[in-house]
C-alpha cells in the first residue's frame, strides 16, 4: 500500500518548506504524489523516480567517452588526485546537507584545498556587507507573525521562492497579523514589473543599477533631510511616501536578492540596506534578510563558520590556519588566475553557472563532479560520482534562508550502493589517510559510523 509521509522538507529554494506531503510506493522506491510543494519542488521529488539516474561513478576514458566504474575505484582515484593536487578547489554545496559539508571539511584540510560555496556567485556581496556592518535579522516566523510592512528589494519571490509569500511574507495569517495580506503593506523595488511587483501595494520602478542612490535617498529622507526631485528615476514624493510607510510600520521587514547583490554597487548596496535597517530601528522595529537561493545554501556558511571561522572562500592550503580573502580566494578569481590544479563540484552545477572562461581554465586540470544527476558539470567532468539526493533519499540538517536549522527526512530508500555525500567524503578521507599513512581524525559523532570503514593494517 502506498504510504503518506508528512512534514517533508523540500530540496529546492531557500524557503526550505517543511510541510510537504509525499505519497510513496509500498517498497519506498517510487514517489507517487507530492502535495503542498510548488511546481519546481514537486518536480524535484518526481525526478528521483527517473530510471536513468546514475547508479555508478563514471570515469572519462582516453577516447573521451565515459565508462562506469565501481565506487572503490572512484574513491581511490579521487583520493589520489586530491593528494597530488597542490591547491584543489572544492565548490558547491547549495543542494546537499550539512553532514556532507562537515565531512568535506576533513578532506579539504587534508588536501590543503580551497573550500567555497555557491554564495561566491550569489550572496557573496551580502557577506562582505555583513563583515562591515552586521546583520539585524530575524527568523521568518517573525515576519509571519509581526511584519505589517514588507519590502522586496531586488528580489522576485513569486518566481524564485514560489511559496515564500504564502508561507512567510505577504499572505499568512500570523499571531499579530491575523488579517494576513489585508494587514500588510508590500513595497517592491525593482526595475522590472515582476509578478512580485504586481502583487505589491507600491512598486518603485527604479532605474537599473541605481539601488545605491535610492537607498541613500531613503536614509536621507528618514533622517529628515531634503532630496532632489527625482532619485534613481523615482519621484521625491514617492520616496517620501515609502519611507513614511516603513517608519510608521509596527514591524518592517526588508528582503533583498540578487537585484541588489549583482548590480552596480554590489556589497555597497547591501551595506546601505543594513544601515537603513539600523536607522529604522531608531523609530520602530525593522529587520532585514537575504533571499538565499538554494534550500541549504545557508548551510555551508554555518558549518564552515563554526569549523574555520569563515563562511566561504576559505583557503586551507597554508596548512596552519584558514585564510579568507575575497578577491583572492574566491572560486572565480582563483580559476581565472589559473591558481587551482584540481576542481571538485559538489551539489551544484559549475558547468552551467560559471563564466565560460572559468570553466575552460578549470578543465585544464582534473575535474570531479559529485551530483545525484546528470548535469553540465557531470558531462564535462573527468569523474562523475553519483550520490543520494539530500532531502529525498538522504536525511540531514538544512539551514533555511533565515539560518533556522530544519531536519530533513528521506522519503525514499535510495538507490542500492549509492552513498550519501557524507559517506562518500568519509570514505575518500579514509583512503587519503591510508595513502598518506596517518590516522584519520573522527570526532565522537563518527565513532559509530553506519558503514564499515576500510581496515588497513598500516594505520590500524
Amino acid at each position: 500500500m502506498p504510504k503518506l509521509i508528512t512534514g517533508v522538507g523540500c530540496p529546492y529554494c531557500g524557503s526550505s518548506c517543511d510541510d510537504i506531503e509525499v505519497i510513496v510506493s509500498d517498497d519506498e522506491t517510487k514517489i507517487l504524489e507530492v502535495h503542498n510543494a510548488c511546481i519546481i519542488g514537486s518536480n524535484l521529488f518526481l525526478h528521483a523516480n527517473d530510471p536513468t539516474r546514475p547508479k555508478l561513478p563514471r570515469m572519462r576514458q582516453p577516447d573521451g567517452s565515459m565508462k562506469e566504474i565501481p565506487y572503490d575505484e572512484a574513491i581511490d582515484w579521487m583520493a589520489k588526485t586530491m593528494l597530488a593536487a597542490k591547491k584543489p578547489l572544492i565548490y558547491g554545496f547549495g543542494s546537499t546537507n550539512c553532514e556532507g559539508m562537515s565531512a568535506v571539511a576533513r578532506i579539504s584540510e587534508k588536501s590543503g584545498a580551497v573550500l567555497d560555496n555557491c554564495a561566491t556567485i550569489c550572496h557573496s556581496p551580502s557577506f562582505l556587507a555583513i563583515f562591515d556592518n552586521g546583520y539585524p535579522s530575524c527568523t521568518l516566523g517573525k515576519a509571519k507573525n509581526r511584519a505589517d510592512v514588507v519590502v522586496f528589494w531586488g528580489c522576485n519571490p513569486m518566481h524564485a521562492h514560489p511559496r515564500h509569500t504564502s508561507r512567510y511574507s505577504i499572505f499568512p495569517r500570523g499571531y499579530f497579523t491575523q488579517k494576513g495580506q489585508m494587514q500588510r503593506t508590500a513595497l517592491c523595488v525593482d526595475p522590472r514589473e515582476t509578478d512580485t511587483a504586481k502583487l505589491a501595494d507600491n512598486h518603485l520602478m527604479l532605474d537599473q543599477g541605481h539601488d545605491y542612490e535610492l537607498f541613500d535617498a531613503f536614509r536621507t529622507v528618514l533622517r529628515g533631510y531634503d532630496i532632489p526631485e527625482v532619485v534613481a528615476g523615482i519621484p521625491r514624493e514617492k520616496i517620501r511616501e515609502s519611507v513614511e510607510i516603513m517608519k510608521k510600520a509596527q514591524f518592517c521587514m526588508i528582503f533583498f536578492g540578487m537585484g541588489c547583490t549583482h548590480t552596480d554597487g554590489r556589497n555597497h548596496n547591501i551595506d546601505h540596506a543594513i544601515s537603513l535597517t539600523r536607522d529604522l530601528n531608531n523609530h520602530t522595529k525593522c529587520s532585514i534578510m537575504a533571499m538565499r537561493g538554494h534550500y541549504n545554501i545557508a548551510g555551508p556558511g554555518q558549518v564552515w563558520s563554526w569549523q574555520f571561522g569563515f563562511p566561504y572562500c576559505i583557503d586551507l592550503s597554508k596548512g596552519t590556519h584558514a585564510h579568507m580573502n575575497p578577491g583572492e580566494t574566491i572560486s572565480i578569481d582563483l580559476a581565472m588566475r589559473d591558481e587551482v590544479d584540481c576542481f571538485v563540484n559538489v551539489g551544484t552545477d559549475a558547468g552551467a553557472h560559471f563564466p565560460i572562461q572559468v570553466v575552460q581554465h578549470l578543465k585544464k586540470h582534473p575535474f570531479i563532479t559529485i551530483d545525484p544527476n546528470f548535469c553540465m558539470a557531470s558531462e564535462i567532468a573527468d569523474l562523475h560520482i553519483p550520490v543520494r539526493i539530500a532531502g529525498v533519499d538522504e536525511p540531514g540538517v538544512v539551514y533555511r534562508m533565515d539560518n533556522v536549522p530544519i531536519q530533513f527526512k528521506a522519503v525514499l530508500k535510495g538507490l542500492p550502493g549509492v552513498p550519501s555525500d557524507e559517506e562518500l567524503f568519509d570514505r575518500v578521507y579514509e583512503r587519503m589517510c591510508e595513502l598518506s599513512n596517518c590516522q584519520p581524525i573522527w570526532p565522537a559523532a563518527k565513532e559509530h559510523r553506519r558503514y564499515p570503514h576500510n581496515t588497513n593494517p598500516a594505520v590500524s
Partner: protein, 574 residues
C-alpha cells in the same frame, strides 16, 4: 586508554568536595572513573610537586549555537587575533584552529582541555535552533557539554504564567527539555526581550510586557516555582533585566530577593533556587557613565546572606571581544553606544539575540571599573562554593583568560600592577573598592569556584567537580608547587593556561599543555518523566499549526545529533 588503569601519583591534591587541601596523595582511575585503587600494572603518572584538581566545570559560556556562529561569521578580523599559529598541530592529526574571542568549535574544545576543563554549559540555546547547537556541540572535541534553552520570553511560558498556571509551565518545560535535549531553565532579560519584538524593553521588574501583560517579576517568580516543581538538577539560571546600566544594582538585589522563601526541591544535592549569572554586569552604581561606580559590595552583602543563591562573576578581561546575548534590546543599545557592527537574531515565539563587537580598552575609565567590579565580587564573597568564575564568554572576555583572572584573584600584587597601568588610575580607585582589598584567594578557593561549586550548582556533584571514587575521571595536573607557591604571579597564570596534563574520562588528552587526543565527549541533557499534559500538548500543536514556520514533527532534535548522550532522568509524580 579509556578502559585502562591509571594512577596519578604523589601530587598535591586539592578537592573541596572532600575538603582535601593540598594533601599529598594518589588518584586511581579505571574505566573512565575514579576508583579507590588500581592494580600494580596501572600506568603511573608522576605528579610529585604538582597540583592535582578535578576537571574544571564552566557554569556559563556561549560556545555553540546561532549567535556564537553569527559572531564568527561576521567577524573575520577575530581570526587575526588567534595568536600562536599551531602549524605542528594542524599537520599532525589535529583539526585546524581559528578565532580568539569566538573560537571555532575545534579550538574551543582544545583550549578548554589545555586549561584542564572537562565540562562546559552552553548558556543560551534558542529552542528552535537547538539542532544547530547540537551540531556544534558534536563538532567540539573532548569536553562534555550541555545547553540551557532560553525560556524567560517564551510565549507559552508568558501565557501560562499570566494565568498563574505553574503546572502547565512545568509541563511545557519538560516537553521542551526533551525536544531540545536541553539541561535547564535559562532566563534572559525576562519580558524585556519579548518587548524587543516591538523594539521595546523592560528595564524594571514591574514593567509590563506589551501585549502579554505580564511583568519580569511574575516571570521570574513563576519559573522559580516551575523549576522546583519539576525538581530539575539545575536551578533557574537568570540574566536579570537592565544589564550593563549604571544604577542597576538595586534592581539586581530586588530580583535576587524574589528567591527568598522558595525552597530547593531536588534529588541532586543542589541547594540554591536561583543562579544569577555574570553578576558583574548587574552590579553598577552611579546615575550615569560619568559618575559610574562599583556596586559590588552592596550586591555581595546581599548574596552572602541568602544561601538560596549562587552567582558567577562575568569578569571583564580588558580584551577586544564580541558581545552576544539573548538580550536583544541590550545589544541594540550597546551598538548605539559604540557604533560598531550589529547583528540581531529575533527568533519567532521564543527569544531575540544580538551580537556586537566590543573593545574593553584599558584607557577607558568605565572598562577599568567593570574590570574591578568583577574581581570585587569574588573578593567580597564569603562562600566560594556559591561563587563561580566566568567571563560570560565571550561577553566580558574570552574563556581563555580564566587563568589570568585566577592570577588577579590570587595576587594583590598582580591586581595592583594592572591598576597602576591605567590612564585614569585615580578615578578608577575612587570608584571601586579593589585597591583596598587585601584578600588573596587560595588554590582551594579557586577549586571551589571552578570545580566543586559549579558542579554542585548544576546538580552534577556526583559526576563532575571532584576526585572522589565513583566520579568521572576528569583530572587536571598543574605545574604549581602547593608547598612553595611561586612569588611571580605570572607563573600561576601560565600553569592554569596550559595544564601539565589533563585526563578526560580516564584518557590522557593533554600533555605538557598540548592536546594529544580527541577524547570521547558526551552531551548531557535532562529528561523529565511525567504524565503527559493534554492541555499543554494541545496548545503546542495549535501554536505550531498557526504561528511557527517549522513543523512540530521536525522541531525536536533527532537522536543522531547528540550521539553520545549522558541523560539525567528526573521523575515527576503528578
Amino acid at each position: 586508554m579509556a578502559n585502562g588503569e591509571l594512577i596519578v601519583k604523589g601530587g598535591f591534591i586539592i578537592d573541596p568536595t572532600r575538603k582535601i587541601d593540598g594533601d599529598v596523595g594518589d588518584v586511581a582511575i579505571k574505566d573512565g572513573k575514579i576508583v579507590e585503587k588500581v592494580s600494580s600494572s596501572a600506568k603511573v603518572i608522576d605528579t610529585k610537586g604538582r597540583v592535582v584538581m578535578a576537571g574544571g566545570v564552566d557554569v556559563h559560556a556561549h560556545v555553540a549555537g546561532p549567535k556564537v556562529n553569527v559572531g564568527r561569521l561576521m567577524r573575520p578580523e577575530d581570526k587575526l587575533l588567534s595568536g600562536v599559529s599551531r602549524s605542528a598541530m594542524a599537520k599532525n592529526g589535529y583539526r585546524m584552529e581559528a578565532g580568539f574571542s569566538i573560537p571555532s568549535t575545534f579550538k574551543t574544545g582544545y583550549d578548554y582541555a589545555r586549561m584542564g576543563y572537562g565540562f562546559v554549559m552552553e548558556a543560551a540555546m534558542p529552542p528552535i535552533h537547538s539542532p544547530h547547537v547540537h551540531e556544534e556541540i558534536h563538532d567540539t572535541p573532548i569536553i562534555d557539554e550541555a545547553a540551557l534553552p532560553v525560556l524567560g520570553n517564551n510565549w507559552f511560558v508568558m501565557e501560562y504564567l499570566k494565568a498563574g498556571e505553574v503546572e502547565n509551565t512545568a509541563a511545557y518545560i519538560a516537553w521542551l527539555l526533551r525536544a531540545t535535549k536541553g539541561y535547564g531553565v535559562k532566563v534572559v532579560n525576562p519580558g524585556g526581550t519579548a518587548a524587543w519584538g516591538w523594539g521595546l524593553n523592560c528595564l524594571n521588574l514591574d514593567d509590563v510586557v506589551p501585549y502579554f501583560e505580564i511583568t519580569p517579576r511574575e516571570i521570574i517568580t513563576g519559573l522559580l516555582k516551575a523549576n522546583e516543581y519539576l525538581g530539575l538538577p539545575h536551578s533557574m539560571h537568570v540574566h536579570q533585566n537592565d544589564l550593563d546600566n549604571p544604577s542597576n544594582y538595586t534592581g539586581t538585589i530586588e530580583s535576587l530577593k524574589i528567591a527568598e522563601g522558595v525552597k530547593p526541591k531536588n534529588k541532586f544535592g543542589r541547594e540554591q533556587v536561583l543562579h544569577s549569572t555574570h553578576l558583574q554586569f548587574h552590579s553598577y552604581k552611579g546615575e550615569n557613565w560619568g559618575n559610574f561606580e562599583s556596586g559590588a559590595k552592596e550586591v555581595m552583602d546581599y548574596v552572602n546572606k541568602n544561601t538560596a543563591i549562587t552567582i558567577d562573576t562575568g569578569n571583564v578581561t580588558l580584551d577586544e571581544t564580541t558581545t552576544m546575548t539573548a538580550d536583544g534590546p541590550f545589544e541594540h543599545h550597546l551598538h548605539g553606544l559604540n557604533h560598531l557592527k550589529w547583528a540581531n537574531v529575533d527568533v519567532e515565539m521564543e527569544i531575540a539575540a544580538g551580537v556586537v563587537p566590543y573593545v574593553y580598552d584599558p584607557n577607558i575609565r568605565v572598562c577599568d571599573i567593570q574590570w574591578a567590579i568583577g574581581l570585587e565580587l569574588a573578593l567580597f564573597a564569603k562562600d566560594m562554593d556559591r561563587t563561580f568564575l566566568t567571563t560570560d564568554h565571550p561577553n566580558a572576555g574570552p574563556f581563555t583568560r580564566y587563568p589570568r583572572i585566577i592570577k588577579w584573584l590570587m595576587s594583590k600584587k598582580a591586581r595592583e600592577a594592572v591598576l597602576d597601568s591605567f590612564k585614569h588610575k585615580d578615578k578608577v580607585i575612587a570608584a571601586t573598592h579593589l585597591h583596598s582589598l587585601e584578600r588573596e584567594l587560595t588554590l582551594f578557593e579557586i577549586a571551589q569556584m571552578t570545580r566543586s561549586g559549579p558542579a554542585k550548582c548544576l546538580g552534577l556533584s556526583r559526576t563532575y567537580g571532584g576526585l572522589a571514587p565513583g566520579m568521572i575521571a576528569d583530572v587536571g595536573i598543574f605545574d604549581l608547587n602547593y608547598a612553595s607557591m611561586p612569588s611571580d604571579a605570572e607563573k600561576i597564570e601560565s600553569a592554569f593556561q596550559r595544564a601539565a596534563c589533563f585526563i578526560k574520562s580516564g584518557e590522557i588528552v593533554v600533555k605538557d599543555g598540548e592536546v594529544v587526543g580527541h577524547g570521547h565527549k558526551q552531551t548531557v541533557w535532562v529528561n523529565v518523566n511525567m504524565p503527559e499534559n493534554p492541555q499543554v500538548m494541545r496548545n503546542i500543536t495549535q501554536s505550531f499549526t498557526k504561528n511557527y514556520t517549522v513543523q512540530l514533527q521536525n522541531y525536536a532534535v533527532k537522536d543522531y545529533l547528540a550521539p553520545h548522550p549522558f541523560v539525567i532522568n528526573v521523575d515527576v509524580e503528578a
